[in-house]
Symmetry: C2
Subunit: 365 residues, 2 copies
């Protein structure tokens, strides 16, 4: 006997039945693409990663260390905090998810700015948490009053912001920390390309948590390692919710090797920043409005040769680049972001190739 | 200004504030231990894993494939199901967690047997879900009527059971599938050491999901890869909740290489089963009650030389072994499990060493 009418989706919780999945950037299968759509590093990871990973293969029959202790201690040393202030995740997304699960419910909201990293919304929806969106002004100055007014127990701030690439001022973030009654999470995925970090504020503000990732500046997006720094009591709480073996042996070993290779890290960051300077100059020569970038991507508003811009113009350039096998990212769902395109900083050669295709488009648009 | 009175734990949701973390088996730091406490494989993983992982290092700057497509397809081929019936997780714990999040709430319970894998309880507590425990009888026959009577939308069945090692009969599981109104999850972490698998029932029962892991028979506990098979609609639902990049590149590549090395897998399973037979015989010679094992561990009730057994006797042997640097597992919190000890099947040499230390203990106990 079978149960032909059984529908596993109808049986799910109501908010899960209607859930929209997060849509990650396209990961093309097959070669020949210039991939400037998910802010990956255009250089290899540290050469120390391969031997560190290889040395761990023989231990794969054994479970990994539950708290990633060696990596956790090295992260603590690097940031000059204590090991009990560090939690390591299967990507920083893992830690962000734990925060949502610990603090949000249908009655208790999570504050986010719009625009910001759109995964927050998905994680809040999975939790059936209340979403409290605060619009950023076109100036992209931090709307401290409006954020404080949410009264939310938890706030995510992509800092520097994505997808705009703009850094909030340290003064405005500190003003927020003083007045916000809940936990402020600075999602510093891109901070290695910026001028200041919230890590220096940790000692003064127990309501501050800073998240970081190995996916961007370390060139380890494929390894899935992130971490967060904060008050030891908050870390202890999140550790209780964390999967006991959330980060595998190879990921722990690879991230540790990359973290300890400080000179390589500094070198690739300098290269990305230099390319960013040159690319921003080329956009300025086109006369396109581009936000000042403190990240490894730029957010620019394409214009046709006769100075028009908007959703359709951005879509036209996106399509033209796609047809030339160059992937970038568009954000058509919000008036502030719709006329813009987000372009990751690749190698100099990749940016030159991109500029040539943009020239082509501008001549015909 | 700082906020000295701020307490991040007080701010958390009530059920999170009181949450007890899952306690994984001890992972000793430092050598010299015989580790028979977390059912790891005592042999290396397939020799194909190292080159597959090494080949992936150069791609680490790029995010992994979001749905682990190559691994997903290979798993589908291996089990003769379609790729849209497979979901890959960061360990099978990841998929179990997604199931809890999709189906359980304070009003809608999850049914589990007692004893079984204790992580279920932790995941249900994190979700603030209702826990519906059904006691196994000492015979360890499946209590079909009691499970059906829960009316729960979701049921986890460790099959074969842990920590007892006993396999439920296929008839009893099929009887449950016919009558249970929710989803039945067969957690087949140990099934490669057993005589039957629920995979053959998938085509007949859309309310069946089978979870598997690479942590046990494949010798890849350190890599964190598991998967589940089920109705395509259920997989689609869980994929919406899944972290977009839940399994890293090295884990995807390593698990795929291990999966495709069928002869190595068969060889190590045969070795474990042969050692299990010999070890079970040695326990029978001691006259200890031992459940028939369909797993890579045994559950045995130690007796003193004058035939006493119980919680304290089990604790005494556990301590004696610990002091001899042999790690096994005890389950003192339930009358059915308290007099027993769970011992993973190691190499023949490890089991010989264990038996010597048990002899020592019996002479003095």
């Amino acid at each position: 006997m079978t149960i032909p009418e059984f529908d596993p989706q109808q049986l799910a919780l109501p908010h899960i039945r209607s859930l929209q999945a997060y849509v990650p950037g396209v990961q093309p299968v097959g070669g020949g693409w210039i991939k400037l759509n998910t802010n990956e590093l255009p250089y290899p990871c540290s050469p120390r990663v391969a031997p560190a990973v290889a040395a761990e293969i023989g231990k794969l029959p054994l479970y990994p260390h539950p708290t990633s202790i060696a990596l956790r201690q090295a992260i603590a040393d690097y940031h000059n905090v204590k090991a009990d202030q560090v939690i390591v995740g299967n990507g920083s997304d893992d830690v962000i998810n734990l925060l949502v699960r610990a603090y949000s419910s249908p009655e208790r909201g999570v504050a986010v700015t719009v625009p910001s990293y759109s995964l927050y919304q998905t994680l809040i929806a999975i939790q059936n948490g209340k979403l409290q969106e605060v619009e950023l002004p076109p100036s992209l100055e931090l709307p401290v009053d409006a954020l404080v007014a949410t009264g939310a127990p938890l706030l995510f701030l992509t800092s520097p912001n994505a997808p705009t690439g703009v850094a909030f001022s340290k003064d405005s973030v500190e003003s927020l920390l003083k007045r916000f009654s809940g936990i402020v999470v600075l999602d510093e995925a891109y901070v290695d390309f910026a001028q200041w970090s919230g890590v220096e504020l940790l000692a003064s503000y127990p309501n501050l948590m800073v998240t970081r990732t190995f996916s961007k500046s370390y060139g380890l997006a494929g390894l899935r390692v992130g971490y967060a720094l904060g008050d030891a009591r908050l870390v202890e709480l999140l550790d209780r919710l964390r999967d006991s073996y959330n980060v595998d042996r190879l990921a722990q070993a690879g991230a540790l090797a990359a973290l300890l290779d400080r000179s390589y890290h500094a070198e690739v960051i300098a290269k990305v920043k230099a390319t960013r300077t040159v690319f921003l100059r080329s956009l300025a020569l086109r006369g396109w409005h581009t936000y000042p970038s403190q990240t490894n991507f730029v957010f620019t508003r394409p214009e046709t040769s006769d100075g028009q811009f908007g959703l359709n113009i951005a879509g036209s350039l996106f399509e033209h680049l796609y047809n030339s096998r160059i992937l970038i990212r568009k954000f058509p769902n919000h008036p502030l972001t719709a006329p813009y395109l987000r372009i990751s900083i690749g190698t100099d050669a990749q940016m030159d190739a991109l500029n040539e295709i943009i020239d082509q488009w501008q001549q015909n648009a």
